[in-house]
Every structure is written in structure tokens, then in C-alpha cells.
């Protein structure tokens, strides 16, 4: 089997396992996994920019919120259907990431982190400023009656799980395809040695810009899907905290691996879920776990597997 077909097999196996696991999991856990799958889409988008291109953004909540509000406001005020709402969310996130990418990529390194952070803060404040429509921190609910696709109820637990899984699968296969393509390999080359990539004739700036656009749009897709499946749109999702989450998931799971974001998001969710059953200081436990992982597995969980066990891990 070639590396490419092994990668595809791994991705299909992951998807099949997630489908199978639904029938074993109690409802509480399938609810968590549905949420994790949506946030994994977010982390996969983030990973394309951070893990593969080597650009650390601290402002991805702006893209997540762009998708979320793009869909939410369009459904609330223009009464769009879920599908056209989703398209509106994607289009708005694509637009925002095109503009932000163009501006933020005039900087690099630490300045890039700060600029993306500032844009995200500006986005958050804009949501509060337009409180008349966005209802600010309080947010608004997308009514169950609106979350129906010709009789198919997106708020139903089973439907929600499989819609989340289907959209996750599409994104995983897209990412899997991108990182095996010449474009994806060029992104890795830029991450590894930007000057060299430029002197091989690659338009580094343009590649980075496309990476921001794809990454931002996928993050926006996650935001839109989240609003659609869980029925709530709020400014919390635009805060710094939500910019840090995908970074954590990706670091934990393994930056620059296709399944790292899923592993990281699952790990983080369950770490908090399990530790909070025993103590109120669950964030302390999460923090300690993070410190140990950075000390002993700086490449993340999937990164360790790639280094020592499965060298071909995509």
C-alpha cells in the first residue's frame, strides 16, 4: 500500500469507528462526542495553519465566530433555511479570513500572533457593539422549528451525532487530501524553511494566504455547524478562550498530523469531564496534564506515535 492509500484507509477507519461507537455509547457520552467532533473541525482548520504551515494564530475565534454569526444572523433575521444558512456562514468566514489573512500576513512571527489576537478582540467587541442584533454576551437561540431540513430534526440527539460525524468526515477527508497534495507539501516546506522554499521558486506569501483562507473557512464552518446543531449563538465563542482551545487540542493531539486534532479534543474534553467528577479544581488537573505532555511529548500524542511507531502517519 502506498503512503497515500494507507492515510486514506486510516481516515476511513477513524470515521467508521466513530459511527460504530455511537451504538455503544450512553447518550451522555454520544452528546459529548458530537460536540467534540464539531470542535475537532475547528481544530483541524487551525492545524492546517499552525501544524502544517507553521503560522501561530491567536485569533481563530474570529473565524469560528464569523461562521457562527454568519449562519446565526442569517437564519434569525433573513429566515434562511439551515443549508442556505450554512452557506452564508461559510461565505462570511471565507470573506473575513481573506481580508484578515491579507492584512495579518504583512507581519510574521510574534507580530503575527499579536495582530491576529488584536483582530479577534476587535471582532469580539464588534459583536458586543452590535448588541441590538447579536444580543451580545447573552446571545440568542436558534429555534428548534428552524433547525429542520424537510422534516429532519437537527436537534435530535441521533441526528445531531450523525450530522456532526458526516461534516467532520468531509473535513477530515479534505484535510487528508490537502496535506498529500503538492500544495500541502509546499506548506510543510514553508514551515520547515521559508527562505529555502522561496529560493526554490515558490510564492511563499500566496501559499500562506491560501492557508489562512482555507484554515479560517474551515474554522468558520465549525462555528456555523455548532450554532446549527446546538442552537445557540453567543459572544463567548468569540473570546480569547476560544482562540486558545484549538491551539491546545492541536498541541495535545499532535500538530501537523491529520488525526491529532481529534485525539487532542477528545483527550481534553474527557480530562476535564472525568476530573471534574472528583474535584472542583479540575482546571488544575488539566494544567498539570498539559505541563507533563509538553515536557515528555512535545510533539503531541499522535506526534509520539508517528515518531516511534507508525512513521507514515499523515
Amino acid at each position: 500500500m502506498t503512503k497515500k492509500s494507507k492515510a486514506l484507509a486510516l481516515h476511513l477507519f477513524t470515521i467508521a469507528s466513530l459511527a460504530g461507537v455511537f451504538f455503544i455509547l450512553p447518550e451522555y457520552h454520544s452528546g459529548i462526542v458530537a460536540r467534540v467532533l464539531v470542535l475537532t473541525i475547528y481544530a483541524m482548520g487551525y492545524n492546517l495553519l499552525f501544524g502544517y504551515t507553521g503560522l501561530l494564530s491567536l485569533g481563530h475565534a474570529l473565524f469560528f465566530a464569523s461562521g457562527m454569526y454568519g449562519l446565526g444572523l442569517a437564519m434569525q433575521y433573513l429566515h434562511l433555511s439551515p443549508i442556505t444558512g450554512l452557506i452564508a456562514g461559510l461565505a462570511f468566514a471565507a470573506f473575513v479570513s481573506t481580508v484578515i489573512g491579507f492584512l495579518a500576513l504583512r507581519t510574521s512571527g510574534v507580530a503575527f500572533m499579536i495582530v491576529t489576537l488584536m483582530f479577534a478582540q476587535a471582532g469580539y467587541l464588534t459583536i458586543l457593539l452590535l448588541g441590538e442584533y447579536t444580543r451580545g454576551d447573552e446571545g440568542f437561540v436558534i429555534k428548534q422549528s428552524q433547525r429542520m431540513i424537510s422534516g429532519f430534526d437537527l436537534s435530535d440527539a441521533t441526528n445531531r451525532y450523525f450530522v456532526a460525524l458526516a461534516l467532520f468526515s468531509v473535513c477530515l477527508l479534505i484535510i487528508g487530501w490537502i496535506v498529500q497534495s503538492g500544495f500541502g507539501k509546499t506548506l510543510v516546506a514553508i514551515r520547515e524553511n521559508e527562505e529555502r522554499a522561496k529560493m526554490l521558486g515558490y510564492n511563499v506569501q500566496l501559499h500562506k494566504w491560501f492557508a489562512v483562507i482555507i484554515s479560517g473557512t474551515m474554522s468558520g464552518a465549525a462555528g456555523a455547524i455548532y450554532a446549527l446543531l446546538f442552537g445557540y449563538v453567543g459572544a463567548t465563542f468569540a473570546t480569547v478562550q476560544y482562540s486558545i482551545f484549538p491551539l491546545l487540542y492541536v498541541l495535545l493531539g499532535g500538530a501537523g498530523t491529520t488525526i491529532g486534532p481529534l485525539i487532542g479534543a477528545l483527550f481534553m474534553f474527557y480530562l476535564i469531564d472525568i476530573s471534574s467528577q472528583f474535584t472542583n479544581a479540575y482546571l488544575l488537573i488539566a494544567g498539570v496534564a498539559l505541563i507533563f505532555l509538553t515536557l515528555y511529548a512535545p510533539q503531541g500524542l499522535a506526534g509520539v506515535v508517528r515518531k516511534h511507531v507508525i512513521r507514515w502517519l499523515p
Binding site: G182, K185, N193, E195, R196, K198, M199, L200, G201
Partner: protein, 240 residues
């Protein structure tokens, strides 16, 4: 026909004239060596040709096209390859992927061979084919130099700029390198910065001597060897 020409090419770093007013012509198919003492402006000069270093003034023509305003990646796409003085490879990627990245950047190429074939071919020519699965950063220094040369070969350039390529190579590897350069000449024009005088004398058709950022002399290896100004500035009378 000249593949590369510069007129009045200069680079000033606040007060320091690294390269000043260089007129330079490189005919198609030649192997040209640029020599000169440390700090003579050799790397700055070829950096300006490739677009890696912006020039302060002057014009550059490549393949009958004025390229002074083009960014580096567009110049490379027109058919230049550049190897760095300080080895610059993708250390965490495999040897094969390093060369494949070089071959793939020529997506518009009329070359009918696949990226993989061109990568394998380039690696074979520098004798690294049996190491293609290794991580590039694990190679010895000399092999990393050869890998960089293979990356240049995989680009099938019109102009191949090499900045001190033989530094760190063994005597046999240097010999193989000279033979390789000779075999490329004709199709590929080669511009070589080199400190190893044996390599220069064996490989170059023609030599340009830079000193304090200016052209001191130009001529065949024989002419340069006997040029008294060059001897005084660089070779030292003992080498005469």
C-alpha cells in the same frame, strides 16, 4: 548570447559599498567562477542576481528579460537555481522529499518526466539515491551539500548559481563535483563562487575577480593566474 547581464549593479549597506557599479556579462553555456577575498561582495552579488538580496541600483537582464524588479520566486521560476553558502535544506523531511520539492516547483515545465522521476534522477547524479529515505538532517555535512546540489539539478535550471559548493566535501566528492559541473555545461550556465583554487582552475571556463565590491579582473583561468593585480590582491605571489 549573454544569459545574464548586469549594468551598474550596486549594493550599499549604510555607508558600506558591498558591491559597487558592477557590469557583468555571462554567456550562455559557460562555467564562470567568481573569486575574491573574503568580504569582496561575491555572495551579495549573486544574491542580487537571484533576488534574495534587493539591489540598491543598477539593472539585471536574464534571458533577454529585465528582471531587476521581479521578486526572487519569479526569477527562480524563469529558470534559476540557487544553492546557499550555508547549507539550507529541509532538515526534518526525507532526502527524497527535499529534491521532490525542488522538482515540483516547476509546475509549468515542459518537462514530461514526473516529479518523482526527476527527483530520483537528480539524486542518482550526486550519488545519494541509496539514501533517499533518510531524514535530510541526519546526513553528514558533505552529503547535505550534495543534496543541495541535487535540489538545484532537479529544477533543471538555465542558470545554476552555486555559493561555495565544495566546502566540506571530500577529495573524491570534489572530483565528482567537477565532472558533474562539466557534464552540465552547454545546457546549463553555471555561476560558481569558490575558494578552492583547484576546483576553479579545473572547472571554470572564465573567471571574474571581485575585490572590495568591484570587478578587479576577468579572463580565462590562465590569464587570471598570470594577472599581477590579482596575484597581489588575492592569490599571493607564492601561488604564481
Amino acid at each position: 548570447m549573454n544569459l545574464v547581464s548586469t549594468r551598474g549593479l550596486s549594493k550599499h549597506y549604510s555607508g558600506l559599498n558591498a558591491v559597487s557599479d558592477v557590469d557583468f556579462d555571462l554567456p550562455q553555456g559557460q562555467i564562470r567562477a567568481i573569486i575574491g577575498p573574503n568580504g569582496a561582495g561575491k555572495t551579495t552579488f549573486v544574491g542580487m542576481l537571484s533576488g534574495r538580496i534587493p539591489s540598491s541600483s543598477g539593472t539585471i537582464t536574464f534571458n533577454n528579460r529585465e528582471i531587476s524588479a521581479l521578486p526572487a520566486h519569479k526569477r527562480i521560476a524563469l529558470g534559476m537555481a540557487y544553492t546557499f553558502q550555508i547549507t539550507s535544506i529541509f532538515s526534518n523531511l526525507s532526502v527524497h522529499e527535499n529534491v521532490a520539492l525542488a522538482a515540483r516547483s516547476l509546475h509549468n515545465s515542459a518537462n514530461t518526466l514526473s516529479v518523482d522521476q526527476r527527483a530520483v534522477d537528480a539524486l542518482r547524479r550526486v550519488n545519494l539515491l541509496d539514501r533517499q529515505e533518510q531524514i535530510a538532517g541526519d546526513l553528514s555535512y558533505g552529503h547535505q551539500r550534495l543534496l543541495e546540489i541535487a535540489m538545484g539539478l532537479a529544477q533543471s535550471p538555465k542558470l545554476f548559481i552555486l555559493d561555495e559548493p565544495t566546502q566540506g566535501l571530500s577529495a573524491e566528492e570534489i572530483e565528482a563535483f567537477v565532472i558533474l559541473m562539466k557534464s552540465l555545461a552547454g545546457d546549463t550556465t553555471i555561476l560558481l563562487i569558490e575558494h578552492n583554487m583547484d576546483v576553479v582552475m579545473a572547472a571554470a571556463d572564465y573567471i571574474t575577480v571581485l575585490n572590495f565590491g568591484e570587478t578587479l579582473a576577468e579572463g580565462t583561468p590562465q590569464e587570471i593566474r598570470t594577472n599581477s593585480e590579482v596575484q597581489a590582491a588575492y592569490l599571493g605571489t607564492a601561488n604564481a
